[in-house]
Structures are given as structure tokens and as C-alpha cells.
């Protein structure tokens, strides 16, 4: 099965996330082997996802978590 660029581009995110079925995956890879434009799309989306996943993630402040825990464990249901 030959895929068009538009069909490949439509499922790039799923391909990058390795969530396409094996048949689609083979068809996409067959297309990528021949199409430098789609290859660049896949590469740059892959890099983008990697960069987002490597971003420094903030965590909730400890005192905020303690305040929340106290409210949850102690308050009366009627006061919610």
C-alpha cells in the first residue's frame, strides 16, 4: 500500500508515539524511506516531543501539599 504525504502527516503524532498498528507502521516507513519532506516532519516532531518531555517540571510546594492534606483529612464534610 502506498501512502500519500497527507496521509502520513495526518498520523505523525501517533507514529512518533508508536501508537499506529503494525500495518500502518510499515506503510509509513515505506513512504518515509522515499520522502525526505515527511522524514523531516517525523524527525522534528520527535525532537519536539522529546524536548517537551525533558522540560523541567515544577512540583507543588511542600507547605501547599501539607495545607491541602490538613484540609482533606480534617475538615467536616458539611463545610465544603
Amino acid at each position: 500500500m502506498t501512502m500519500k504525504c497527507s496521509e502520513v502527516l495526518a498520523c505523525i503524532s501517533e507514529y512518533v508515539d508508536k501508537e499506529v498498528c503494525p500495518d500502518s507502521c510499515s506503510a509509513i516507513e515505506e513512504h518515509l524511506a522515499k520522502c525526505s519532506h515527511c522524514r523531516a516532519q517525523v524527525q522534528t516532531i520527535t525532537q519536539t516531543v522529546t524536548l517537551v518531555r525533558r522540560m523541567k517540571n515544577c512540583c507543588a510546594q511542600k507547605d501547599m501539599v501539607i495545607r491541602l492534606q490538613r484540609r482533606i483529612v480534617r475538615i467536616d464534610r458539611g463545610k465544603l
Partner: protein
């Protein structure tokens, strides 16, 4: 943060539904950081994010009897937090307006026609640089709120597409499409940065 398995979650849920607050906290504690990250990306202000977190968890505690366990507890909390956040943003109408404005330059739809250069092998190491991290931060911040929410749930909080769809009550296809669109916009912003930085044009992989 520990991730509870399904069985442990179900057992804690049963106890929490009978009013056991300790069990509720055990169930919920692992979601505090992800919900805070989501709230901060939605609200863009720490104090508002903290309010959203507090309100979301208290609401979950109040409504625990209505939670049917069709999704993971963490997914349900995300749904509550998104609703709480949006409600708060509606009160800050001017901010909602600016957040819904088009992304800078309005060129995000033209990705297919751009000549794409690979960011280069140094890109990942470059994120360590504060400059690249700032570009990504601001690109994420400028995403329309619906797309930003999905990126945070999916790529920051590492939820599955199915979980995101459950949390946002969207069809799976809509989640996938929005995620793709969000990543494309981020990619284009990063691409501009790396292209400028490397002074390289028109080179495709």
C-alpha cells in the same frame, strides 16, 4: 509520588466512599504534582494555580460518592481541575480573551509548506541552555488553552490519549488531532529558534 495499581486504587476508593479521609488522601496524594502542573499551565499564576488545586481536591472529596470508577482516579481529578480552572479563567475574562488569541504571527497552519530543517544533533543538549528552555516555555504558554491542556496532560503528565479523552470528554480522534496540532505549533517555534541559531536554511533530512 507513587503510582497505585488498579486493585489498590479500587480498595482505597471503596474506603474513601465511606468517608475515610485518610484513604482519600492516599488515593489523591500522587496526583498533587500533576494537577498543580496542569493548573499552573492553565492559570499562569502560582496563587491561582494553588487555588485551583485546593478547590479541585476538595471538590473531588465532596463528589467522591458520584465517582463511578470508569476512569482512573487521577484522570477524574484532571477533569475536575480543568473545569475548576476554566471557571476561574472565565472570571478573569480579559485573560481568557488574550489566551484565545491567535498564536504569534498566525503562521502555525502553514507547517506543511515550510522547508523543515532538522533541529540538529545538538538540539537536545541545547535544551539544557536556558535560552532554548525559555523559547519552549513561551511557545507552550502561547498555545491556545485547549491545545496547551492536551500537551500538558499528554507529554508532561504522561497520560494516555484515552485518559486525556476521558478527562476532557472529547472523542479520541479530537484529542489526537489537537495533540498533533499543538506539537506542530511547538515544533515550528522551536524550528525558528534553531534555524536562527544555526543559521542554516532549506536543509531537509
Amino acid at each position: 509520588m507513587t503510582t497505585l495499581d488498579m486493585e489498590a486504587e479500587a480498595a482505597l476508593l471503596d474506603r474513601a466512599k465511606t468517608g475515610d479521609r485518610e484513604a482519600f488522601w492516599e488515593l489523591a496524594a500522587g496526583s498533587v504534582d500533576p494537577i498543580y502542573r496542569l493548573a499552573l499551565r492553565l492559570m499562569k499564576r502560582e496563587e491561582d494555580a494553588e487555588d485551583v488545586v485546593q478547590e479541585s481536591f476538595l471538590k473531588a472529596l465532596d463528589k467522591i460518592g458520584e465517582f463511578q470508577g470508569k476512569s482512573r482516579f487521577n484522570t477524574w481529578l484532571h477533569r475536575i481541575a480543568v473545569n475548576q480552572g476554566l471557571m476561574k479563567l472565565r472570571k478573569r475574562r480579559s485573560d481568557v480573551f488574550s489566551m484565545d488569541a491567535p498564536v504569534g504571527g498566525g503562521e502555525e497552519g502553514d507547517a506543511h509548506f515550510m522547508e523543515l530543517a532538522d533541529f540538529g544533533s545538538s538540539a537536545l543538549e541545547d535544551l539544557e541552555s536556558s535560552e532554548a528552555a525559555t523559547v519552549l516555555e513561551s511557545a507552550l504558554e502561547e498555545l491556545p488553552i485547549d491545545l496547551r491542556t492536551i500537551v500538558v496532560m499528554r507529554d508532561v503528565n504522561r497520560m494516555s490519549n484515552d485518559e486525556v479523552a476521558q478527562a476532557l470528554e472529547l472523542p479520541l480522534g479530537a484529542v489526537k488531532w489537537r495533540l498533533h496540532r499543538a506539537r506542530t505549533i511547538l515544533r515550528d517555534r522551536l524550528g525558528e529558534y534553531f534555524a536562527e541559531r544555526v543559521c542554516r536554511t532549506g536543509e531537509t533530512g
